[in-house]
Structure formats: C-alpha cells, structure tokens
C-alpha cells in the first residue's frame, strides 16, 4: 500500500513537471531542453531556505520566484533563436546550472548533496506521512492543472497556439509573438520549480546527480506520449510512464538480467520517442483541431 502511495506521489510530482513542459512544447512550440534546470532551481532554493529555518511557504514562493526570474532572463536572449538553437541554448543552460550546483560548495554543499530537508508545513499542518504528502502534492497537481487549463483556454492560450502554428500570421495579426513566448516560458519555469520544491521536500535529500539530462528526457517522453498540446496528455503520460517504469521491478527477472535492465529501459524510452514521432506525433490523446502529422 505504501508503495502505491509513494508511486502516486511521484506521479503527482511528475504530472506537474510534465504540465509545465507542455505549456512550452505543446502550446508554444518551444523546445526546452534544459527544463530540469528549473526543477533544480525550485528544489535547491526551497531546500536551502528551509534548512536554514525559514518556513516552508516562504521557501516555496522563493523557489517559484527565482525560477520565474531565471526563466525570464534566459528567455530574452534565447528566444531570438530558431527552434533547434533554442533547444541547444537551453540544454547548455541546464548543464551549466548543474555544474554550478556541483561546484559552488559554499552555497549548495556541492556533490555532498543536502540531507535532512524538513517536511513541509502549511498553516500549522505538517505533511510528514505518505497520505498527507499525497494530499499536498495531489492538491498542488490539481491546482496546477486548473491554473494551466485556465491559462490555455483564455485568449492568451489561443494566441499561444497561433504563435506556435504560424508565427508570421501571428505577427501580422498584431500579436506580439515574442512577448507571448516569454510569458509562456516563464509560466513553464515557475511550475517546473513547483514540482522541484515538492520533490525536494518529499525525498528530504537532493544532490546534483538528481538533475541530469535523463530527467528532461523522461518528462519529455511523458509529454510526447500523453499528447502535447492537450490538457490530459501530461497526466495520462505521467501515469502510464511511471507505472511502466516501476512495474518492471515486479517482473522477478533473474539477477543476471537486471544489469541490463537500466539500459534496456532507456532503449525502450528512446524507441517510444521515435515511434511516436514517426507514427503518431500527436501522442495518445489527440489535440482537438490539431493537424495530424505535424
């Protein structure tokens, strides 16, 4: 039972993470390859602040604010780039951030990681049990879902899609595409940080090794598989993928196979990305009015 609760918490956190990436990739067509950096900013900011005795609520808000600011600062120059280059620039940002976290020992304890991150408490309630934490992260996931759905359904959301599908047309229509992209990127960064904050306070230990390209690929696969540019896509993707990942543990494989499991699973992830892109770019759940094969 506890394991299911644990998985549910992980799914909730990854749902938030995937929803945030979906805003960028699915709705705006921004290929963010350093998305895990914002997850890390949230995790580290909140962890460092709460470890020094500041209340969780402040740590949480600070994490979101800092991630939003970094997203804003990065997006101004990076968004001048075309798709592929934007991807490379953000990838670079993600790697540099990980190096900074790993090397600036005075601030982040470096490779030692941060043990003993306190359990969150809001309004006097401490979330230190699995059901309690599930309530918190599930609630946050629902809130994220609601907020982002609202954003996407608003005229702003429709404008985003217009920008994604045809930038020139969007410009002619008098919509400032550049500004829309920046807003979208900042929103994505803030919610990625929310997932990071929840992650840090759940595991109570973080280290630079948690924030690698592999994480970005996992969350990318969640979005792509679920269906980019849809409401339910990231949610469905997170449930399916996390369950798939963990169900492998129960196959009771002979130990000599286990060594091969890690690479094998990653191979499957890679194949899934290819297969979806070649045969069903729109993912499990198709975007309404979306153009097929695009």
């Amino acid at each position: 039972m506890d394991l299911l609760l644990h998985l549910a918490i992980v799914i909730a956190i990854y749902t938030i993470f995937a929803l945030s990436l979906n805003v960028e990739i699915g709705y705006t067509g921004l290929f963010n390859f350093g998305h895990v950096a914002f997850f890390a900013i949230g995790a580290y900011t909140s962890a460092l602040l709460t470890l020094s005795g500041i209340p969780f609520a402040v740590g949480l808000l600070a994490g979101l604010a800092l991630a939003g600011l970094c997203g804003f600062l990065l997006s101004i120059p990076a968004l001048k780039l075309q798709g592929d280059y934007f991807g490379i620039a953000t990838l670079g940002f993600g790697e540099i951030l990980r190096m900074v976290v790993n090397n600036e020992v005075w601030l982040t304890k470096g490779p030692m990681g941060l043990p003993g991150i306190p359990r969150p408490s809001l309004f006097g309630v401490v979330f230190d049990t699995l059901p309690g934490y599930l309530a918190l992260s599930g609630g946050m996931a629902l809130a994220t879902f609601a907020v982002l759905s609202f954003v996407v359904l608003s005229p702003f959301g429709r404008a985003l899609k217009a920008v994604r599908d045809d930038e020139t047309a969007a410009e002619i229509l008098g919509k400032n595409a550049f500004r829309f992209k920046i807003k979208s990127f900042v929103i994505g960064s803030v919610f990625a940080a929310l997932a990071g904050v929840l992650w840090a306070h759940y595991t109570t230990f973080i280290s630079p090794g948690d924030f690698t390209l592999t994480e970005t690929i996992l969350v990318l696969l969640i979005v792509v598989m679920g269906g980019k540019g849809t409401f339910l896509g990231p949610v469905v993707g997170a449930v399916v993928l996390i369950f798939f990942q963990e169900s492998v543990r129960f196959l009771r494989l002979p130990p000599e196979w286990t060594r091969l499991l890690g690479p094998l699973q990653q191979m499957v992830f890679g194949l899934l990305l290819i297969v979806f892109m070649v045969f069903r770019p729109e993912g499990i759940i198709r975007e309404k009015g979306g153009r097929r094969g695009d």
Binding site: L91, I217, P263, L264, M277, V278, D294
Partner: protein, 291 residues
Amino acid sequence: MDPISYYLQTALNGVLAGCVYALFAMGLTLIYGVLNFVNFAHGELIMWGAYFLFLFMGEPFGLPLYAALPPALALTGCLGIAMDFSVFRHIRRANRLTLLIAAMGLSVFLRNAAQFFWGAEVRTYGLEVTAGMRILGLTLTTPQIAIIAVTILCVAAVYVLFFKSRLGKSMRALSDNLDLARISGIDTKRAILAAWVISAVLAGIGGILLALDTNLSPEMGVINLIKAFAATLIGGVGNLWGALLGGLLIGLAENLGVLFVSPSYKDGIAFVIMVIILLARPYVIIGERSD
C-alpha cells in the same frame, strides 16, 4: 617545466582536442546543410564508431588496428544510412520539433544499446602505453600525431569532395534549396545518402582517434556532441571551414580554461562560449542559407 612550454603544451592539448571536435562538427554541419535539421544523434555515431573498432579488435575477430579500421568505418557509415532509413526518411517534411524529438529518441536508444552490449565501464583498445616523444620541450604520442595528420587529410578530402566533385555540387545545391534542386534534375536521394555516409564516417574517424588517444565509454558521444554543437555555432552552421575553426577554438578555450579557471568547469567552457555566441549573433548563425 618552464612556463613557456607549460602554456604551449596546454595549447597543444587544446589543438588536439580541437581537431577531434572539428571532425565531429564537420559531420554535424554537413547534415544540417543538406537536410536542414540538427542531428541530435550525431554523438552516437562518434561513440559507435569507436566501439565498432573495439569489436573488430577484440574476440572473435582479433584483427590488428590497421585491419580493423576499414570494417569499423564501413559499419559506422552503414549506421548513418540506417539512421536515415529507419527514422528521418519518414519525417522529412515534418516540423522541426518532430525531427528534434525523434533524433533525441534515437540518441537515447543508441547510447543505451552500447551500454547494453558493452556495459557502462570505460574500455581501452589495450594498446601498449608508451611515453610520448619530446619535441621542443613538448610531449607528443603516436596517436596524437595521427590525430593531427588524419584531421588534415579529412579536411582536404572533404574539401575536394565538396567543392571539386559533381556529388559535392549536388549536395551544395540541396543545401541551398531542396525543391529547386529536385526540379533541376539533381539526384537528391543519392546526395542525401552521400551526406549521411560522409557525416557518419567523419564522426567514426573522430571517435576512433579520440578513443585511441584516451578511452571508450558509452557517454563519450553525448559529451562531445555538445562541443561539436558549440563548434558549429562559432563557425556558422553549414560552413565547413567554420566548423574546423570553431572546433579548434573550443579545444583551446577549454584547455586554457583549466589553467585559469577551475578544471571542474572544463566542460562548461564550451557551453558558455556557445551561449555567448548564440546571444551575440543569433541571426547570423543560420550560416549561408537563404530560406
């Protein structure tokens, strides 16, 4: 060691690293020029090239180095064609995002396939370790001399092929305008195939040189992919000479950086240069394309 040769030796290390980066960057740039997308799986061509040689030098083949080279490079070329045939051919007209994600998937797949077959540990070709020669107070080993010689050869070969042959002409026509090239009766299929083979073989050669000089590991592709990207960006995408220059610059910068900055930021230096270049001239990097 006197200070002058200390810096010179560092510069030499930088040039050596830069030569290999240049080989990677040239292949990357070529594919970008012809097919207009960034092949995120280029790093895996580098890595598999090195592992193919490992395959032929080990059991059951047990070939010596010179005999194992041709089949290894041939297989790397085939891998390049296989990439196109199995994935990219189907999504030629798809949007960038689709191409990029597919290439990413391919990269993840191939990297872990190598780990699946050979394990995650670092491997060597098992050649005898020899002390380098001393030339003017600098040390150079045989593989390092090979790196410089082979790079010069490759650059010359690519130059001849690209600017002096019919095939090169058709490739350049393709990179200028695909539809126009098609209309004017150029065999686009053949040109695309050639681009993949050349790109893969260059990556394979670079990977093998790097592994001869250092070691093999499944991660070697990804790490070097970023450097190749940075080199391509400095030189201007689609520009072969730029790729060469960019590679050398990145190699020098990161090696000199170790002396002046912290070594732990060594890989970061390429990133920083890349980001600065991106920010400084975001519209120029599209190279000489006119679409």
